[in-house]
């Protein structure tokens, strides 16, 4: 089930945007009060306000308590419901707009560090279109978030925008991740174009993170098609050069291919290109389209029913499998894949935007299926159906 990660509430007594970890234990503020937010629900009339004073902010769904806190001069935020604010979650709160974003959930395998909204490419199928904004404050927020995580999660993604645009700040972020969460696999989505700068790649490698993968997209085996898809002249050359720099510096790379009308025609040649030129890639992921961002705008140029490209995908997967490369299929429902490809299909869709259709309720393999993106619920392959195999 999809989960809502952002809400708007009312705030009082806050004068800047900050990042806090949530607790429901009012005796917890003995530590560092500027890092903890207390979630109070349900509120009781008898609540002793002095026990709230040591928290950075008190989050409540009670307008009565909120008013009392405001009167007492205690920083407070009022939200519709505190149901989504669990122990150990990390959120950012903006005063004024009252915007609260959940940025870390300890129980989720899909947490990501959102590095920036900026990007040097402009892919026609981007699910999170870039914005030309100054969001350099995110660096400190992210480092703060890393310091607030109590137990190393198994896995942490890094995404954007384009994380490498952070330059030296990316090195700081990676260093912080290594120091604070040494046991966490770090998986960064980057277009790899700035990896054309070998000294930059070397500096990333020198961080010597114990488990760091750069997941880099390659959409075609020839420059023109790739450059068109990412809407940037020279991008293919930069990415290929970047992949070689990464290999030379000893950074692990994964290749990601989004499947759509523009990438399908050369999919098999792309698999050949990867094997012959990038055999050092630790993983190749073929990914179904997410109907978000630019995809909605460019639907006609992008949409091809997965059923109609299954032969190409099957051939590409088999080509790489025979050559002993590590292959996965992301975001495609089992009912669209032949059984021979099921072992490559992963439950890849992040929990907060993962949905199943009503028809899926009767499917016997639903628990093994990636399901759909929330954005696909009303626009998806017409071949999605319940399976009855066991």
């Amino acid at each position: 089930m999809a989960i809502k990660l952002t809400t708007y509430g009312n705030t009082a007594g806050l004068n800047h945007r900050f990042t806090v970890r949530l607790t429901r234990d009012c005796s917890a503020a003995t530590l560092n009060q500027t890092d903890l937010a207390l979630v109070v629900s349900p509120a009781r009339e008898c609540d002793d306000l002095t026990q709230y004073e040591n928290f950075a902010v008190v989050i409540t769904d009670s307008s009565v308590l909120f008013d009392r806190l405001v009167t007492a001069g205690i920083p407070a935020a009022r939200v519709q419901s505190t149901e989504g604010y669990r122990e150990g979650y990390i959120v950012t709160i903006e005063p004024g707009s009252g915007f609260i974003r959940t940025i870390f959930r300890p129980e989720s395998p899909h947490n990501t560090i959102f590095t920036t909204d900026r990007c040097n490419s402009n892919c026609i199928m981007c699910s999170q279109p870039p914005k030309e904004v100054d969001d350099s404050y995110l660096v400190e927020e992210n480092i703060k978030m890393l310091s607030l995580i109590r137990a190393s999660p198994e896995y942490l993604g890094m995404t954007g925008g384009e994380p490498t645009l952070l330059g030296p700040d990316l090195i700081r972020l990676l260093q912080a991740a290594k120091e604070k969460l040494p046991d966490t696999h770090l998986h960064m989505l980057t277009n790899g174009r700035l990896y054309k700068n070998l000294s930059f790649v070397r500096r990333i490698a020198e961080v010597d993170h114990p488990s760091f993968i750069s997941a880099i997209p390659l959409y075609a085996d020839v420059a023109g098609v790739h450059d068109y898809i990412v809407q940037a002249h020279g991008a293919f050359d930069e990415t290929v050069e970047g992949l070689y720099n990464a290999a030379e510096a000893g950074l692990a790379v994964e290749i990601r291919i989004v499947l759509h009308k523009q990438s399908i025609p050369r999919l098999n040649q792309l698999a050949e290109f990867i094997y012959w030129n990038l055999p050092f890639a630790v993983h190749v992921a073929f990914m179904g389209l997410e109907n978000m961002g630019y995809v909605k705008k460019n639907w006609e140029d992008l949409w091809i029913d997965p059923v109609d490209y299954m032969d190409s995908l099957g051939a590409a997967v088999k080509y790489l499998y025979l050559r002993r490369m590590n292959v996965s299929i992301y975001n495609l429902q089992l009912c669209l894949l032949p059984q021979s490809l099921w072992s490559f299909a992963r439950k890849s869709i992040s929990d907060f935007k993962n949905e199943y259709l009503d028809v899926c309720a009767h499917c016997t393999v639903r628990e093994h299926c990636s399901g759909l993106f929330l954005s696909q619920v009303h626009r998806h392959s017409e071949h999605v159906h319940a399976l009855t195999v066991v």
Binding site: N122, I124, P129, D221, V222, A223, G224, V225, D227, Y228, Q231, H233, G234, F236, D237, V240, E241, Y244, Q262, R266, Q269, E272, F273, Y275, W276, N277, P279, Y294, K297, N298, V317, K318, Y321, L322, R323, R324, Q339, S340, L341, W342, S343, F344, H368, V389, V390
Partner: protein, 504 residues
Amino acid sequence: MSRKEFHLIQEYVSPVVTYNLLPFRFMRLDGDSVLLTNDWGEFKIIAPDTFERFIYKQLDTTGTDYFDLRAKYFISDTRSSDHLRVMASKYKTKKSFLDGFTKLHLFVVTLRCDHSCPYCQVSRQSEDKTRYDMTPEMAHRAVDLMLRVPACAVTCEFQGGEALLNFPLVRDIVLYATERNRSIGKFIDFVICTNLSNLTDAHLLFFREHNIKISSSLDGPAFLHDQNRPCSRGSSHALVEYNLRRAQEALGRENVSMLMTTTKESLAYPREIIDEYLRLNLGSIFLRSLSPFGFATKTMKTIGYSSEEFVDFYKKSLDYILELNRRGHSFPEGFATLILSKILTPFSNSYVDLQSPAGAGFSAVAYNYDGEVYASDEARMLAEMNDTSFQLGNVLDNSYEQIFFGERMQAIAAASCNEALAGCADCALQPYCGADPVYHYATQGDMFGNRAWSGFCKKNMAIIRHLFELIRQTNGETEEIFWSWINQASREEMKLPKVPWLSN
């Protein structure tokens, strides 16, 4: 951002582009197609009319053929850089068998032998141990040379004669090399070539203790094997069969391999030979042709054959092996596997008999029983015919530098690269083939050789062409078989895996 802000594909894949041809070689295959290959062995098979348009620079630069050739680096254009670094890296990867220099070191511990195989010119039926045995002093100097090469992993292979007839020296070399290596830290792979006729439990115990692998000979069923390999102790085949099982049990099946040599007599029995390998639970076969030189004319008439005859035998055998694999056996043919991995993978393989630069001296060296050092096993056989052209020095008299970088070796090296040999330099099969200065010297009196009447060229071209035909006509099943061979995996492991949670 609105839709109109996206640029159209025409801006990136403009038809107005000029292109250049990158270096390539080509050859017409059977039927209607042309094979293109480049220096690191990437290939593309195209139609003749596409080939014409390609070379006259008339390809539609927005079309599939153009993109295919561009992506395999047969074309460069102004749309994108030439990725010189990518090409250099692929070339370097293909040639990485050269890393670390000479890795295969053959120790001829004795020429004495209890077999008198007509295709072997070197063994001696002698009881005189002093005359044909290597001395420990020579052996130690040879080990010292072996441990001087930069490679972090070397193979120490015991040859004969029959190496086990001088087991004390084998033992001495293993112990000496292991001891000397303690401070050097190389990985030493020990292999003993033996006909298995006098294998004792003590031998097996020692082999197991020191991880020594066995390489032996099996030419086919008894009637054929015993004709090819007459033995003074009785039926060689019976001894091999009995001792092969003992060796497999003691050392594990994977540590005992068999070599098959094809004689004129063998040509009529491809199936029988292969069935015998299956019967004895040998997981694969390597169909090896005679090294057809250094024989007396009379012997050659009895056991020799033309390249064409061998190729015909090879194709029949390979057909049968493929049929067996289709029936579910995981049973590769060794030579095809090596060629296929050269054609189908970007990686290098270390097959010293077919590479460029040639294996002689660069990848292999033979220390003869008398301390003389030769560029290859064939080179020391030539020496037994009183031709020491490929003698690089002597372990007692010459230094590592004199042996491996002396004038002799440099003369061999000059004839060792098929990239620079007339007839090879422009052959489309060059990246998958090799140079063989010893062969060409022995058969034509000239290390460079003339490809027009080279049996080496005839045989290898025919087999590599045949494999290309099989690749071209391949269906999913043959492809799986080929990859099971390349990956040394079972047929089952090449099928797309089932999900564990699905019943049946």
